[in-house]
């Protein structure tokens, strides 16, 4: 390996690592706030990328149907609850929000030909289609068992994951998609060609992390989430609703997932089930941070990216083996350094 290859691999590793870092942050966030180990995080990556690809191909993305179905289900559940509690005036809003908005979006997509829209509008539409799935999934799958043990929530997560994988195959088919680059610019630094798209991924990741930092430090909702993460009961007593915090954290996680998918789809071909592997690598990063520390999780994720990229050069067949076996020494190190005391 000469320096040039080393630098190229490093560039690759850092780019993928940045995506894993974003996902790792989302995973830590969701776990801290809701105790849910969010296995389906990766599906949002795939759905984001594939929805954008469908829009660019001028097809109606399958995610529309998912949005409509889940919206209707929620409207039925919430509507029935409102009927039981005789809050009749809430019903129009419930229907409008959960069925009306998705219908409007679907109508708009049918009316205009999405392929001819500018790229940024397509990205915006893709996010509009995918991000609401996050809180909707929280409402349908997790909220009814929000007080259950971490173990039950984890099994729910796995169930949601396999459901979404099946749905992804149904909507997007088995073929992968690759979206055109956002930018064709490239720079030459020394001997190495720096792709504009790579740089874009890095810049976007850093910007997102900074935005998250400000969200948690400066905004009321961000502080509410931090409070819930620290002490659920205490936060509830202060008027922070557990389900609001759950929905909010799932919205953030879904956004991060969808944006990550949109960012990397010009670099790698995304299949309906690619998200899982990408998400799991974010998990390895998150576990390095003990599912608790944001900076360590992000650093761990970059490390995973680098390890992956260099091992693909040395032993490409065993790339995944090496990345996933990394978790063993990490867990060993964690188990030797933490002392776990069970609360009352």
């Amino acid at each position: 390996m000469d320096l040039q290859i080393a630098l190229l691999l490093g560039q690759d590793g850092v780019t993928n690592g940045a995506i894993y870092a974003l996902l790792a942050l989302a995973l830590v966030l969701v776990f801290a706030v809701t105790r849910v180990i969010f296995i389906p995080q990766g599906e949002f990556v795939a759905f984001g990328a594939l929805t954008l690809a469908s829009l660019q191909a001028g097809r109606l993305p399958g995610t529309v149907w998912l949005l409509l179905t889940m919206g209707t289900l929620i409207a039925l559940i919430e509507g029935a609850a409102a009927l039981r509690e005789r809050h009749f005036r809430r019903i129009p809003l419930i229907v409008l929000l959960n069925c009306g908005a998705p219908l409007l979006l679907a109508g708009a997509l049918v009316a205009v030909s999405s392929a001819s829209l500018p790229l940024l509008v397509q990205v915006f539409l893709a996010l509009l289609l995918v991000v609401p799935l996050g809180p909707m999934i929280y409402r349908l799958a997790y909220q009814p068992v929000a007080e259950a043990s971490v173990l039950v929530l984890l099994i729910v997560s796995v169930a949601v994951h396999v459901t979404l994988i099946g749905i992804g195959l149904l909507f997007f088919g088995a073929e992968g998609s690759r979206t055109p680059s956002f930018t064709e610019v490239s720079f030459e630094v020394g001997d190495v060609l720096l792709q504009g798209q790579t740089l874009l991924v890095l810049v976007a990741s850093v910007l997102l992390i900074i935005a998250l930092y400000f969200f948690f430090e400066r905004t009321l909702y961000g502080k509410a989430l931090r409070a819930t993460a620290m002490n659920r009961t205490g936060a509830r007593l202060m008027g922070i609703s557990g389900s609001l915090a759950g929905m909010l954290s799932f919205t953030l996680a879904a956004s991060i997932g969808a944006v990550s998918g949109i960012l990397i789809s010009p670099i790698t071909t995304i299949y309906y089930d690619s998200g899982f592997l990408i998400g799991l690598k974010g998990f390895v990063g998150a576990i390095i941070g003990g599912l608790a520390s944001y900076p360590v999780a992000a650093a761990g994720a970059i490390l995973v990216g680098l390890l992956e990229s260099y091992s693909s050069f040395w032993a490409s067949a065993f790339k995944e083996v090496i990345v996933f076996t990394l978790i063993i020494p990490v867990l060993l190190w964690r188990s030797l350094t933490t002392r776990h005391v069970e609360g009352e």
Partner: protein, 590 residues
């Protein structure tokens, strides 16, 4: 007796049906039943791990793969007899599971399943990329199993082997769960604090169930390799690992028969969905996972115990853990001489971050006396209990018990030395009967292990343990509630069950944290009488209690704590007159 006769008859009927099935059924159904049997073996391990032990694994398919590939490799490449590759596969799987368990089990519970996901992925890719194992195309030409002259070449012949193995494992697992070690595993679900305080080595129990579940999976893999006589990586992927867990959960994750039911339901449903869904949707693919995923979510929302309990209602219930009379009682430890110093606490301090919950507290408890620890809420009494009993060790200070330093020892070691305790927040296993809960207290007085339990060689000892539990329940005045679920009792009675459980450990020092809370007047009197009798026998009792009449009428000496510090100590009459104590309790007189 009639119930057990009925359940034996049902079991015999089941065996007869199994014997006839391959003779009567067409090939297709025999094959289906073979797979159900193979899957059920894996799901059975998960029942023990998840439903009973409260742990879980998504990587069981990888363990199946280890068993299958070990046998495939050794038989085809090195020509080893398939009967020798079974133990070889078990050995490989055991070593892997043991190391994985040792690495994750000290961490909180969710690191184990996450570890198994990563581990499952990594093993799957390893199978697919090692040329020695045939890569993604797999290995063929695995020899069939051979019984003397008979080669098990057809599915019909193999059927008997699979279901015999499954039945042996089901019965063995059922026996194991209904034993001393089984109760220790079941205690894991209620958190490790109580189990440790009763002397259970919880890390060991966790590692043992995890390894056992892996060994079941490995056995299934060995059977699979010689049934198919071909292996490739696909059936050992994470997706299959997840499906195994679905089988256990849908069938009924807390019941051994739920494993068979779940494996049957999911396998048949999968067969059916794979036929119909592609036709319905107009494209081909594994769409059954959508239905499975949704089914799982509904099961977890609506019926977390799975389908088996709904069927179980139609069967006679076997009464597990009944008291047995006429057995030789357990030997008791010799109590120290009355008046000798049992417990000595010197300068005990406990710091939680910036809060000093115990600040250099010193006191002692003698054999044959009741020492009461009182003080306002937040004075640090329960913290002191946790420090002494090793549940949450002290930051500094010395504790010696019967002349031996015990600070820094794990709770189970302290329990072994003859100290037993109750908890302020009751820690019983609500779905287990009172007698089983109390028998957990006697854990350290038995010795028989997992293997003895599985083949029922532990019955004599088990009878003595249950007899002891029954005696302690009667002594504490709850004979009518002996076979009721502990969670169905009122809170006051649950506290009494905790005392019976502590007594079953045959302690010489008893730590009681608010035993009288929630009791009615007559019940309190009965409790006071019991404690007086124990004192007369020479037991030392350390008591935290808020009911002053109860304390002052019973205690020989009283220690008052406030803000983590010792405020006063002495005989009850002295304490009642002590101005500092009066001020702490009633506020100062202006």
């Amino acid at each position: 007796m009639r119930r057990s006769v009925q359940s034996t008859l049902l079991l015999l009927l089941f065996i007869v049906v199994l014997l006839l099935a391959p003779v009567l059924l067409p090939e297709f159904y025999v094959t289906l039943l073979n797979y159900i049997g193979l899957y059920a073996i894996v799901a059975l391990g998960l029942v023990m791990l998840t439903g009973v032990g409260g742990l879980t694994s998504f990587g069981q398919a990888a363990f199946v793969g280890l068993g299958a590939y070990t046998s495939a490799y050794l038989t085809t490449v090195h020509g080893v007899s398939p009967w020798l590759t079974l133990p070889a596969g078990l050995l490989v799987t055991g070593v892997v599971a043991l190391s994985l368990g040792l690495v994750t089990l000290r961490l909180s519970g969710h690191f184990l399943p996450l570890g198994t996901i990563a581990w499952g992925m990594s093993l799957y890719y390893l199978f697919g990329n090692l040329d020695a194992l045939g890569g993604h195309t797999g290995m063929s030409g695995i020899p069939p199993l051979q019984f003397v002259e008979l080669e098990l070449k057809s599915g019909r012949e193999f059927f008997y082997l699979i279901w015999a193995v499954l039945l042996v494992l089901v019965l063995g697992t059922r026996n194991l769960l209904d034993s001393r070690e089984g109760r220790a595993i079941r205690a894991l679900k209620g958190g490790s604090v109580m189990a440790e305080a009763m002397g259970v080595n919880t890390p060991r129990s966790k590692i043992v169930v995890f390894t056992l579940a892996a060994l079941y999976a490995s056995t299934s893999g060995w059977l699979y390799a010689h049934l198919q006589r071909f292996v490739n990586p696909t059936p050992f992927s994470l997706t299959q690992g997840i499906e195994y867990l679905f089988m256990a959960v849908v069938g009924g994750v807390s019941h051994v028969w739920g494993a068979i039911l779940g494996a049957g339901l999911i396998t048949v449903l999968k067969q059916w969905l794979q036929d119909w869904l592609p036709r319905l949707l107009g494209q081909s693919g594994n769409f059954e996972v959508i239905v499975f995923g949704l089914l799982m979510i509904v099961v977890l929302h609506r019926a977390r115990d799975g389908v088996w309990p709904m069927i179980q209602r139609f069967f006679p219930q076997r009464l597990v853990c009944a008291r047995v009379d006429g057995v030789r009682p357990l030997t008791r430890r010799p109590l120290p001489e009355a008046g000798s110093l049992l417990l000595e606490v010197k300068d005990a301090s406990k710091r939680f971050g910036g809060l000093l919950a115990n600040d250099r507290v010193s006191f002692g408890v003698r054999a044959g006396e009741v020492m009461a620890l009182i003080g306002p809420n937040g004075a640090g009494k329960s913290t002191m209990f946790n420090g002494i009993s090793g549940v949450d060790p002290l930051t500094s200070g010395a504790v010696s018990f019967r002349g031996e330093p015990i600070e820094g020892l794990p709770a189970r070691e302290i329990a072994r030395r003859g100290m037993s305790r109750t908890f302020q927040h009751v820690r019983l296993l609500p779905s287990m009967s009172v007698i089983e809960n109390v028998a957990i207290g006697a854990h350290l007085r038995g010795r028989r292990g997992f293997v003895a339990a599985a083949c029922r060689a532990d019955r004599a000892e088990e009878a003595r343990l249950l007899h002891e539990a029954a005696v302690q329940i009667e002594r504490c005045g709850l004979p009518e509630q002996m076979y009721e679920a502990a969670g169905s009792l009122p809170l006051g009675k649950q506290r009494i069950v905790e005392i019976a459980r502590a007594l079953a450990a045959d302690p010489c020092l008893l730590l009681l944290d608010e035993p009288a809370a929630g009791l009615r007047y007559l019940e309190k009197q009965a409790l006071a009488d019991l404690l007086r009798r124990l004192r007369a026998e020479g037991m030392g009792i350390l008591l935290v209690e808020h009911d002053m009449d109860f304390v002052m009428g019973l205690a020989d000496r009283v220690l008052v704590m406030e803000f983590g510090q010792k405020l006063a100590a002495g005989r009850p009459e002295e304490i009642q007159r002590n101005p500092a104590v009066i001020e702490a309790y009633l506020g100062g007189v202006e």
